[in-house]
Symmetry: D2
Subunit: 293 residues, 4 copies
């Protein structure tokens, strides 16, 4: 008998291979008397298939495992949708290894056999909460597995803001914005902005200034339980934007405050039993390639 | 007798000190029988003063020297307005040294005495031309003294584009954009994005990727006479923006081409005779401050 | 009555101001019937003064507070000498604020009054242990408050080594070496090599590659309790060096293993009650200076 | 008839493949009645082969083309040996593309056919001269195709020096040293220290500080004809080293001056006719690999 009896499936059908993998996955599950439950949008793309559907936000109610087919970006969206349920999530990629989607469609069945037999690694990855207040009243909110990014919105180059950690003033910064990343996000956008890699298990958050006007403004690593507060200076001429995982965008205004804290719970990420974070780094970041080998 | 008989004055009256300096400057000129000519907008802010006015774009017709009062940003705007005339430009700052505005309002008269007596340094700083084409037809154009920046416009994080130098394919890049900076611009925005400092006289341009997805994409320094062509990939979902000196913004579309070349002529920049570029660097960039002194 | 009855004094008398401050400090203590105990070397430089002396390594036996007069470098040496005692350490600088030596000689008496009255902040800063083994036998060891640095020793440019974290293989690196820094060290040498700032309280260590041959080799932040193992590749032609706080140097050989772990205990660092880490950063790193203000 | 009648061969026989390629090359030449001339050391490794030998420094007298078999490092050594002759140099690599050695041993004969028929690209790459003076008297000298590097020598972490460009004072720097690189060297060591890529044809030099104590000390690109002067501060406690291409090391002393200028002439570098610098960058630097593809 399988560990999991109902499996949710989430995918963005942006290329034919994803569709094929989803079909293969449905077959796999049905052959083993495991009930697949599809994200609503997927159902529309698979006419004639009789499978239970659910809106992605409610999928967590109907399954005891969720499988995301796609890139790391698809996984991020799924994580935000599922983070209030206690459902583990597994990622199947589109052919190239991802940091979050590490099962290859080529070896899908074999790898699932092992996982469904109970051989897998489970990690809890924490997420971030962003709450925006205007005149002390809530004006927006979001969650992120990778990062919450403050950026200037359209056209204007730089924004000014004050940064506080646990209510202590840190600095007034003028920059293209700020990336607040989890360990999970530290190998994504944050890395391209000069941030360090935080090992997945580390209880820490990194704050990475984007193109800071002051050259000595550098990435700062803080405790994951710290409270970050950003006050957008009144002098800004434009309406900055707060992005969650680069997917959900909230417009802020001069004078607004952004409160970022660790979200309770977090996501249960499932890997194959032989998963090796450093190996993913070596492959995806090209750690073994030098300019002069 | 003065070297200059008619002096254009350009300023953004964004703070009271600038206004005061402009008045001081007008007095200085009139006392020496030099004719001041004011940028039109300035006239409106100085009611009752009987001085010839001209639109900033035409000011070059009416003067043999232009003086900009304000920060480096004001100077950039003036440079773009004056670059088709052969008029030298001098910058008076708002109290703190600028790379382009190096005369202090405190010592205005003394420094002008020396300059009007013929003791000054003149440098020709080259500028860049950006021409945007859509289906091989012009769809926008701009000029810049500091930099031409391609960025993704609103919200979207990254753009994809192909880069060519002298019609040779360089790379396909996925990033937050690209800064194309002159030596003059190399100490401004480009520097905060990790670009090198190019000495003012160097005949070179630097291309600085912004948060490139590929960590080995690094600043590239090319000959100032090279032709840069950027082709915005059709796959982009948003309309990128091309900014000239961070002041003039042109909207581009997927598929558009951006052609960047050195502009003929350039601006004649005047400095006090004791100007020292390295000294400005030491002061403005804080070269003498270490973390552990 | 004072909280402390015997105070050890450590200083490197490399400039006249340090000597003067030491004398002032002795007077201060004797006037309050607190017994000063001098590091042995200091005694030799203060002939005629009748004060108990002790070798710096044993000073911890004779005092319940140690005061270091000098720069952050002097403090590092004192920390290594005192780290096996449970004695708190206070730093008096030479006129400019240090990260570790934050009492100014100008306000020495007033600040000490407050501290001796019990108003101060105490932080425990952890330290690192380095153990070098050759053919599985110990061949060298050291401790550091800031950082343990592997570098190639004389002349050769690059070294090759394998890096392991908690016995998992991370990468083979070819570089100018590796900095392993504590949060305390993250604002020192590590920062100049591109490392992030770790807040003092963070239980983490940062590994910073120096000029890595592979551009995607970036700083990695790991748990402070992780075990780091570095295996110097047999192919190296030179004898690399392992430095503790840049002060103690141990020669290693191709094939040697370097084991780095958190040291039990750590140093008790005392600050004035109004100490503000971010303020030290703003001052020492020049966070408020931009290139274009 | 071939363009070249006598061909010098230079190689470091550090692996069997190099030896095999050298033999293949000798056969190739002799079959076409072109006279091979071997670097002296090579002769010793090829006993029984009757070929003219010459010391590498004199090889330029005996040939009208030199071929280097090995990595970019071997090429650098050959360039320094040949730079006072007007002999073009061609590089054959050991199986992986180099920036300087771009002919593959697998396609050796075909590529040489094309080159010997006159179809090739020739570039003149400039080199640097370093002259060290003590009390105004010469105390050492060297040449480099890639870079001249000032570093602290054994153990000591940082050195202090004053930097001058064309006799103008630039800054006093405290760092792990300074890399002065040509465009050729800009894709080598300089790149790993944060330097920009200079296109091969650019008449410029880049000065890259190594781990500077002051975070705003950044790479500076200057005209190739500028005169660089570095004065090692008297306060240094160790004897710094000046390295040419990482191969020739000269010991300097506190107070010494290092004068770096462009060397007259330079090296004539030969590429296959279809050589594409950007393609080498894309391949060797991995420009097409992202962290999130």
């Amino acid at each position: 008998m399988s560990l999991f009896s109902r499996v949710g499936i989430i995918a963005r059908l942006d290329n034919p291979q994803v569709l094929e993998t989803v079909k293969k996955l449905i077959d796999y599950l049905e052959n083993r008397d495991i009930i697949p439950v599809l994200e609503e949008n997927l159902g529309a793309m698979l006419p004639g298939i009789k499978i239970q559907l659910a809106p992605v936000k409610e999928l967590g109610n109907y399954c005891d495992l969720a499988i995301v087919v796609g890139g790391d970006g698809s996984f991020l969206g799924a994580a935000r949708a599922l983070c209030d349920y206690d459902v583990p999530v597994l990622g199947v990629n589109r052919g190239t290894l991802g940091f979050l989607t590490d099962i290859s469609p080529q070896t899908l069945e074999t790898e699932l056999d092992t996982i469904f037999a109970g051989q897998y690694l489970e990690e809890r990855r924490f997420m971030l909460n962003a709450k925006i207040t205007r005149h002390n009243k809530p004006s927006g909110a979001g969650e992120a597995l990778n990062d919450i990014v403050l950026h200037p919105g359209k056209s204007a180059r730089m924004i000014r803001f004050d940064m506080y950690i646990d209510d202590q003033f840190v600095m007034n910064q003028k920059s293209d914005g700020l990336i607040v990343a989890t360990p999970t996000g530290s190998t994504a956008y944050s890395l391209s902005a000069g941030g360090p890699i935080l090992l997945p298990k580390l209880d820490a958050i990194v704050l990475v200034p984007m193109h800071p006007h002051t050259l000595s403004n550098r990435p700062i690593v803080i405790d994951a339980n710290a409270k970050i507060r950003i006050v957008i200076s009144e002098s800004n001429l434009t309406y900055p934007s707060v992005s969650c995982d680069g997917q959900l965008h909230i417009t802020a205004a001069p004078g607004d405050e952004i409160h970022i804290t660790r979200k309770e719970g977090g996501i249960r990420l499932i890997h194959p039993h032989n998963h090796d974070f450093y190996d993913v780094c070596r492959t995806k970041l090209g750690w073994q390639t030098g300019y002069n080998n």
